[in-house]
Each structure stands twice: as C-alpha cells, then as structure tokens.
Symmetry: C2
Subunit: 310 residues, 2 copies
C-alpha cells in the first residue's frame, strides 16, 4: 500500500511556557509523513518549500525513507513560516505571524508514479488545491482530509465540493461545530457526514478523539502525559498514524478505524513530548506498540455485573 | 451498606438555550441521593431547607426512598437559591444570583442512627462543615468529597484539613488545576493525592472523567448525547452513581472504582437530558445497565495486533 500526503512543509517558530524553538521543521505534510512512515514503507510527500529551506531538513525526510519526488522547491520565494505562542495550560495558542510565501502559488503537479496512490491524505490547505491533487490520483481507495476554520469561513462552497470526495474527515471539535453550525457534537457529526464523508473523526486534543462511523461512536482517550513541551503538529501526527495503520492493514472497517485512532493517538502522544517533530525521528515499533497498548489499559472498562435489586 | 450524603438542598433557577426552569429542586445532596438510591436501599440525606421549601419536593425524596431524618427545616429563613445561565454550547455558565439563606448557619447534628454510616459523601460545602459531619460518623469505610473553587481560594487551610480525611476526591479539571496550582493534570493529580486522598477522580464534563488510583490512570468517556437540556447537577449525580455502586459491591478496589465511574457517568448522562433532577425520578435498573453497557461499547479498543515491520 502507498500513502500520498499533501500539505504544508514549513518553518515553525514556537513559544511555549517551556521554551522557544525558532524555525523548526513544521507543516502538516511533514508531521503526517514522519508519523505514517513507521507503519507504511511507501509514503509520498506533496508540498512546496522555498529557496531558504535547508538541506539538512530535506535530509531528515530522506533518512526517514519518505518519497520526496513530490516536494517542489520554488526558488522565487521563501518557505511558509508560522509563528505561534501557547498559553500556560497549552490548550490555547495565538498565531503571532503567518508568512505564506511560496504557499500562495502552490498548485502541485504530481509525479506520474503518484497517480496510483491508494490512500490520499489531504492536509489542511485550500480546498481547491486539495481537489487539484485528488484529480491527479486515478482511483484512490481511501481519502482522508483535514481542514480549518479559515476555509470553513472563507471558501465554504469549495470546501463542500472537496468533502463530497472524502471518505474520512479529521477535524477538531471547534471546527466541527463551526462547519455544521451546531454546538452539539453528535448532531454536528450527522450534519457533516451528510456533506459527504462516511466517517468523521473529531480531535479533542487533551481530551482524546471521537469516531463517528456507521451507526456507532467510539470515544478514544488521550494519553495522560506528565510533561507536554509543544503541542504543535499533534493533529497531523495523529492523522499520519491513523493513515499509516490503515495502509498497513489495507482495510477501512470500524475496528480498523478504532485501532488506527489508537495508533494515531499514540504517535501524537510522543510528538508533544518535544519541540517540533523531534520525537518522530527516533521512534521504533516496540515503543509505538507499547504506547498503543497503554491506551487499551487506560480505557479498559471491566465487565459490568447486572445491577442487583436495590 | 449505607450512604450518608451531606450537601445543599436548593432551589435552582436555570436558563439554558433550550428553555428556563424557575425554582426547580436542586443542590448537591439532592442529586447525590436521588442517583445513589438506585444502587443502595439505605441513602441518608443531611441538609437544610428553609420555610419556603414545598411539601411536594419533600415528598419526591420520600417517594424515592431516601432517609430524610437528617434534613433539617430552618423556619427562620428561606431555602438556598441559585440562579444560573448556560451559554450556547452548555460548557460554560454564569451565576446570576446566589442566595445562601439558611445555608449560612448550617451546622448539622446527625441523627444517632447516622453515626454508623459506612460510605460518607461530602458534597460541596464549607470544609469545616464537611469535617463537622465526619466528626459525627463513628468509623466510615469510605469517604468521598467534592469541593469548589470558592473553598480552594478562601479556606485553603481548612480544605487541606478535610482532605486528609478523604479517601476519594471528586472534582472538575479546573478545580484540580487550581487546587494543585499546576496546569498539567497528571502532575496535579500527584500533588493533590499527596494532600490525603488515595484516589482522585477528575470530572471533565462532556469529555468524561479521569481516575487516578494506585499507579494507574483510567480515562472514562462521556456519553455522546444528541440533546442536552440542562447540565445542572451532572457532577453530583455522577458522584451519587459512583457512591451507589461502591455501596452495592462493598469494595473499593481499582475495578470497583472503574465500574463506579461508569455507573456514575451513566446516571449523569440521564440527568442532563431534562431540566433539574426530573430524569432521576423515573429510571429503573434495566435502563441504567443498558446505558452503562453502552459506555463499554463506546470505549472499546479492539485487540491490537503486533505492529508488523514496515
């Protein structure tokens, strides 16, 4: 199986209560691919960087075995740069600066080989660009998609068009409420799934994730970490682990999605332990399986005896 | 087994986006006892009401089989009255008015029979009053306690004194952060458990609950409801279901606590479906067991296969 991931490749300059990290490797496609590659040997990155993107960042992708033929370098400008500051409890952040740079004119042309990709991950981007990528894939088996408030507010019609072609939408709870214009998440899920995606995954950060699929709901916990250094990229890492697991098993059933969410959550629980994607360079499958199993223990509800007469 | 629950008995005047409910029966002791009685035949209420407390509210307790010998009527004043308004998404509320009334001089003297109570639930009250009740119980097997930001901020030393005598503290996430003065919940749990309670349960509303006990953590989901009419009393109802289950099994081990949290969560998921405690009058054990089982399905993580080599 192969995974094609399109999204941003960026510099992130991050401030948290625990320190600062200027110009670390960031972007949705970076986190997605660096996580997915632990599960799937054939991970293809589609993105753009500028003239200022350092060789050693490229080398890190290569060392991780990621196919970079879809990573374009636009010499006319600089790399997308996001600056943000997290609050005291890490649940909120302020964007201090966003320099889109070469991302403004990003309209990727996929390498010929990429047309046969089986799983497509549409990282958070202009929905028109997401469709432009989908148009170049012959017959994807499974399409995952992320988006954000900006596109929900500014390009709602274009976003709806993309959603009709998506199997699984992965967004956070505030985005779900805004997309559906409905505060209740269960009702919001119905409304969003009517827009196209058979499956909806709602990320709730430190509160885990909800899966709406078929007639059932799955509530996944978040791993209770002693120390979180930097939440940046957790959502994309989650999607990378999820897509990686689906690619590994080649199935998209309810149990596969539940397991995928747990592997995605495990990967996300690692990445927040260090600034940037640092933690994703040095994992191994034993560590990942161990963390995923800890989630099962964390969420295990013992068998319930029948309620005796009071 | 017997449960003694001390707390407020109140009028609540509630506004939510779905309607208003003036002067409905409220208070921590009300929700606690009305939930616990489905699990335990011997539930004893300790509280105070004023001269304006209607007979039919008293009758509702009686019809529910709750022992009211510990409910004092203070003819010198009116019943505690809380007025609040919930926001659009029900996750936040504003207190519009608080009339403490007869609660100001509440210093309960327990009926003699109550001294032998086995499980004691200290609802949110002045920590000195909580201790005053504990002083009158001969040898409680298990003490559960709730508190709130007001006591954390205004009577920290008194609260610490109470906590030393508590087996299980049940508070919400913002209270846990404030009590420990630590934003990370895992670290906050360590700090709080050092204050006395062997077990800490952190309620997270629509995000479920966390149990810190021994060396393990349990993450319980919340039930995804299509419609929530009024979140008032959910936390006390949760504590009532938890205490009820513990009384029913007469054990306080890790699995008992996990199951108790699920029964508590199930009770809370019912109570928010209607204004006030209305839903607690008409439940039965089949409905409760069915809801609790739905939690197991909701949180079930399928067995994880070993991660294959990528």
């Amino acid at each position: 199986m192969s995974i094609l991931a399109v999204g941003t490749v960026a510099f992130d300059s991050i401030e948290t209560p625990f320190g600062t990290a200027p110009r670390v490797l960031g972007g949705s496609a970076s986190y997605l691919t660096l996580a997915a590659r632990y599960f799937c040997p054939d991970v293809r990155l589609v993105g753009v960087v500028g003239r200022d993107f350092p060789d050693d960042y490229v080398q890190r992708f290569r060392d991780s075995g990621i196919d970079l033929r879809g990573l374009e370098t636009d010499e006319s400008g600089d790399t997308f740069h996001w600056k943000g500051r997290y609050h005291y409890d890490l649940n909120e952040r302020d964007t201090l600066d966003t320099q889109l740079n070469v991302l403004v004119d990003f309209e990727p042309t996929l390498p010929e080989d990429y047309r046969s990709s089986q799983i497509v991950c549409l990282g958070n981007l202009d929905p028109a660009v997401q469709r432009h990528v989908l148009d170049q894939v012959d017959d994807p088996e499974y399409v995952l998609c992320d988006t954000m408030n900006y596109w929900i507010e500014h390009t709602p019609d274009s976003l709806r068009e993309t959603l009709q072609r998506v199997d699984c939408l992965v967004i956070n709870d505030s985005e779900a409420r805004e997309l559906a214009n409905e505060p209740n998440l269960v009702q919001a899920a119905d409304i969003i799934r009517d827009m196209g995606p058979e499956t909806l995954i709602i990320k709730k950060g430190e509160h885990g994730a909800l899966l709406f699929n078929g007639d059932t709901v799955f509530s996944a916990p978040a791993y209770p970490l002693e120390a979180i250094e930097d939440p940046t990229g957790a959502g994309d890492t989650f999607a990378g682990g999820l897509a990686g697991h689906l690619a590994q098993v080649g199935r998209y059933g309810a149990d596969d999605l539940r397991r995928g969410i747990i592997y995605g959550s495990a990967m996300a629980s690692f990445v927040v332990e260090r600034f940037g994607p640092e933690r994703l360079y040095h994992l191994n499958r034993e560590l990942i399986v161990e963390r995923a199993r800890a989630f099962r223990e964390l969420a295990a509800i013992p068998k319930l005896a029948p309620l005796q007469a009071a």
